[in-house]
């Protein structure tokens, strides 16, 4: 199969490169101030309407056109456009460092550029976040968080109050592939999901594919979140940081060799435990409760054609009590990349990627310890190519192979503990994929991205592999040797997205994608729990499969100041996973026997109206949707609402620039309550009162709504100095920038239900529905600086 795909790739290349007498304009686009690569910047030619090139993830572009003299314009969102005459009689390399828009005026952003990428691009079902918006949008405890800001966009739903977890288009939380510099992050949240592991200071670009992801991506059913870390300032040393209510952070970036290489190191740590230590209560003093993140990245340009990157993330939560109890968990990722330019039209990238997530729980001290842990670890080798065939075709192709190690239960005991326990056996698998994709412009109005992804998942030894009966009991055990295949699955995922431009202001889009998911998260909790474990597809677990179709209409108004879109989607899911009642997830060697398999469907309508320019910016998003599941053993095999099924979901985000120093912002969210299971009676057994349940997810939580407010005050950006030559006073930009941010989460103090439990009143014995609300009014303040 893989051979076939490679043959297809070469036939494609041969076909597209045949008989072309074109010249190629190529180069790299960067930010003038920081030297950061510009992703998705456009190079267009005035004489050839509809012809242009986009920079790839590394800021590289390549455009092949007939020889001649052209007016070439280079533009990127948020940067000053540059237009110049170019004599393109032979191949030419043109690198450019672009200036941030508005910088020269020292005022609010003004732009004459047409921001119509949403209309012209074939991409749909994509949510992007401007990193600047993240700075202004108020969030819980003032901790800027990309995952929470993304939840304000249509089709993306919060996993619960204050949660960084999210659901995309009716999928479950584990169906999101979260990539940080290509490395999967297996548990993307801290402190039971209240904070994401992503320190926004270290991030450059975030893109969420809700459907129709390019063929390059695969491995999860519902979405791909592609997060890229900053490369670091290659011009000068730059330091930024912030002091917040619960955490502080510091980022240092600097050139290694100016304009050739740079690095960035960014760290964040919470300090609730430091306050606990000040407490008079001895118990509080001995409590441990914190998390930290460390992001680091370096890049170096070896020559015109080669560049290397090394990036990593390390973060951990620590929770414990003195030396007697400890619970810690976290992710570590590492990515090594090598960019190479093969000629001026073929861009290649080789990556070696590492990712690890583990948790450890320790009881006791010294020789009387008992420690359990679990781990998942990946080593991934990946090769990607961008082939800029001509002005009408850009092809991407490549492949990768991942070696997964699953350690479901490691047990260590001290010598004095008096008993031994066996580890749960490790599981190993290989996940590989090859893909090819082409973005083609057809005439002036059509743009089509079509691709094919082939993936394979093979469970390998060593190990004693169990078989189960229908009731989930082990029936047989077979021993396998190192690297011996146990079971194997594969699948072909066609991807298609197309854009038909009705006119300059509006377009119609449609997409289709099939996705496969070979590893599954087993969790007995609704929050993101550190003890959730990933299990691979195996002789007992088949991969999950989904097909999604969507169509959309995109329209801009008032010279692209207002952006409107409507998308509808339908997603069909097969072999989705749920758990047997009372399933034990932790330290269970037979966890595969606890799973149930069913089908799912999700469909919805997403509306977005966004104002992108002016003193007032922001958006309104509305999602009308349904997400349902069907399992033979749940609700007698009838369709029922998935937990994340919420009929209405509204977000309103507004930001207002009073002056260039004061920005106010407000967000309001409303959504229908989750589907939830409530009792329909009670009975007595074993001397205890037990709730009787009749239907899974047959009830609804109360509707949720909340208003958050924020104000950012920038200190003066300019100072007045006396110009020595002219003797006049002039305004000079200050090197040191700082700002204060004040915010209020849940400004009108609504008690939104986090959970509702049915319990006996201690005094009357009466059964009561008790609602828990987590956060009432939470004000916060933070100070940020940069120099």
């Amino acid at each position: 199969m893989q051979k076939l795909l490679w043959s297809v790739i070469f036939v494609f290349i041969a076909f597209f490169t045949y008989g072309q007498g074109n010249v190629t304009l190529s180069g790299n686009l960067k930010d003038e101030e920081t030297g950061e690569d510009l992703i998705g910047a456009r190079v267009v030619v005035a004489e050839l309407p509809g012809v242009g090139a986009l920079t790839n993830d590394y800021g590289f572009y390549s455009l092949s056109i007939a020889p001649g003299t052209y007016t070439v314009t280079i533009k990127s969102l948020g940067y000053e456009s540059v237009t110049l005459e170019m004599d393109l009689s032979t191949d030419k390399t043109y690198d450019l460092e672009m200036t941030v828009e508005g910088k020269v005026f020292g005022t609010v952003t003004v732009t004459g550029e047409k921001l119509d990428e949403n209309i012209t691009s074939a991409e749909m079902g994509v949510d992007k976040i401007n990193m600047k918006d993240i700075e202004n949008i108020p969030v819980l405890f003032g901790e800027k968080d990309i995952l929470k800001t993304l939840q304000l966009l249509p089709g993306v739903k919060s996993a619960g109050e204050g949660s960084a977890g999210f659901f995309v288009r009716g999928g479950s939380a584990d169906q999101n592939l979260i990539l940080l510099d290509e490395a999967p992050v297996y548990n993307a949240s801290h402190l039971l999901g209240f904070f994401s592991v992503f320190n926004s200071d270290a991030l450059k670009d975030v893109k969420l594919y809700k459907g129709g992801a390019p063929a390059e991506f695969g491995g999860r059913l519902s979405s791909v979140m592609d997060i890229k870390m900053k490369e670091g300032n290659s011009k000068r040393l730059s330091v930024s940081g912030g002091l917040g209510l619960i955490s502080s952070k510091l980022t240092i970036e600097a050139p290694i060799v100016k304009d050739k290489g740079s690095f960035i190191v960014s760290a964040r740590r919470t300090y609730a435990d430091i306050f606990l230590r000040l407490s008079k209560d001895e118990r509080a003093q001995n409590s441990i409760l914190y998390f930290y993140d460390l992001n680091a990245k370096a890049n170096y340009r070896l020559g015109k054609k080669d560049r290397i990157f090394l990036s990593g993330y390390f973060g951990r939560d620590n929770f414990g009590f003195a030396d007697q109890f400890g619970f810690d968990w976290g992710n570590a990722t590492g990515t090594f990349r090598w960019n190479h330019l093969y000629g001026d039209r073929l861009f290649g990238n080789t990556s070696v990627i590492f990712s690890n997530y583990n948790y450890k729980i320790k009881f006791g001290a010294g020789e009387e310890t008992f420690q359990i842990g679990s781990e998942i670890q990946d080593i991934n080798i990946k090769e990607d190519f961008d082939f800029f065939i001509n002005s009408k075709n850009t092809m991407s192709f490549g492949g990768n192979i991942i070696h997964h190690t699953f350690r479901p239960g490691e047990i260590e005991t001290g010598s004095d503990i008096g008993f031994t326990l066996n580890d749960i056996e490790n599981r190993y698998s290989l996940e590989s994929a090859a893909y090819i994709s082409n973005e083609q412009k057809i005439k002036k109005r059509w743009k089509v991205v079509y691709g094919l992804r082939y993936s394979n998942f093979t469970q390998i030894g060593p190990g004693n592999i169990f078989s189960y009966d229908l009731a989930g009991n082990v029936t047989d055990t077979t021993a396998f040797d190192d690297w011996e295949p146990v079971s194997s699955y594969h699948g072909l995922s066609p991807r298609l997205s197309t854009n038909f431009s009705i006119d300059e202001k509006s377009s119609l889009k449609a997409s289709y994608a099939r996705t496969y998911q070979y590893i599954h998260l087993v969790s007995n909790s609704t929050a993101s729990s550190p003890t959730d474990i990933w299990v691979p597809s195996s002789n007992n677990i088949e991969p999950q499969v989904a097909d999604q179709v969507s169509v959309g209409y995109f329209r801009n108004f008032y010279d692209n100041m207002l952006e409107f879109s409507v998308e509808i989607y339908y997603k069909d899911m097969r072999r989705v996973i749920d758990y047997r009642d009372g399933a034990e997830v932790t330290l269970n060697p037979a966890v595969e026997g606890e799973l149930l398999y069913g089908i799912g469907r999700a469909y919805g309508l997403e509306l977005l109206l966004k104002k992108r320019r002016g003193k007032f910016t922001g958006w309104v998003s509305y999602t009308l949707s349904r997400s349902e599941r069907k399992f033979d053993d749940i609700n007698d095999g009838a369709w029922y609402a998935a937990r994340q099924d919420r009929t209405h979901d509204i977000s309103i985000v507004g930001m207002y620039n009073f002056t260039d120093r004061i920005t106010a912002s407000a967000t309001w969210v409303y959504y229908t309550g989750n589907a939830v299971t409530f009792p329909s009676g009670k009975y007595s057994i074993d001397g205890q009162i037990v709730n009787l349940y009749s239907e899974r997810n047959g009830y609804r939580m109360p509707d949720y709504h909340r208003l958050d407010l924020g104000v950012t005050l920038d200190n003066k950006k300019f100072k007045t100095v006396l110009d020595a030559e002219s003797g006049k006073e002039v305004q000079v930009e200050k090197r040191f920038e700082s700002s204060w941010n004040f915010s209020v989460y849940n400004a009108y103090g609504r008690e939104n239900a986090y959970s509702i439990s049915f319990q006996e009143n201690a005094e009357t014995g009466q059964t009561e529905a008790v609602q828990l609300a987590l956060f009432k009014i939470i004000p916060s303040i933070s100070y940020n600086f940069k120099f």
Binding site: L191, L192, F194, F319, F321, Q324, F327, I361, G409, F419, T420, L421, N422, V474, N524, T526, A527, S529, Y579, R580, D581, G582, V585, T586, R643, T677, F678, P679, S680, G681, K682, Y683, S684, I685, D686, G687, V690, L692, S694, N697, G698, Y699, P702, A753, Y754, S755, I756, G765, Q766, T767, E768, A769, V770, L772, A773, L774, F775, K776, I777, I778
Partner: protein, 267 residues
Amino acid sequence: MNRLETVMLLSLLMVFSACEKVVQIPLNETEPQIVVEAVAKSLTGQSYILLSRSISSYDTSYDFEQLTGASVTVSEPSGGGVVFEEDPMVVGRYIHPAFEVLPNTNYSLKVSYKDQVLEATSRSMTAPQIDSFFVYQNIGGPGQNPDDTTNVLIYTVSDNPDEKNYYRFVLWINGVKENTIFIETDDLGNGETYTSPFFGMSFDSQDTVYAELWSMNVQSYDYFSALYTNLNQSPFSAAPADPPSNIENGIGYFGAFMMDTTSIIIP
């Protein structure tokens, strides 16, 4: 790990501003169901079957109607049937003075109440073995002051290497049954001598603790495991569900349990 999450949540709540209040949630009521608690023991004459009915969630009478006048039979594969008679002391409880469960045997239960017939089967395992009970004095610890002492009761059991074993400990402290469900499997140490504390329990000096160790098949274990989950819901718990009952036309459980017992006076 529910308990762990609860501890974490509580810590978070101290930091945050959580609040609880009673709310009115209308519930759909279902038909009352017959609840069977059928415990067949290897201890002679100590088996019992309790019959009652479920009631609506907001019922204030708390009258789980105990069912009298039922016909209750426990039979073995050999064909012999033992009729359990109503306990004159406890309404809705059915007992037999000589019945005892034998190892590795199939049992079936038949309950006829008015025009309803409820049936269930269960297979017993080999007898479990308690090796020892001892007390460890722990000083300090999570959530304790540094000089607080806790009497931790620790048990050692020997596991049968020839079968997959499932256990439940039932404790009576000074004659009062402890509600906590202690369940265990031999997943992590088949055939080993297994030592563990009764987590979350603290005993006073001079407490008399009587313990029954039940050995059971996987169906009974799954029932107790789900019952434990059901009784220990936290705000983070996944959707709750009824424990998987082996009672046809009813809810609850019928188990044939092999037992070992011991008792200790906490020093």
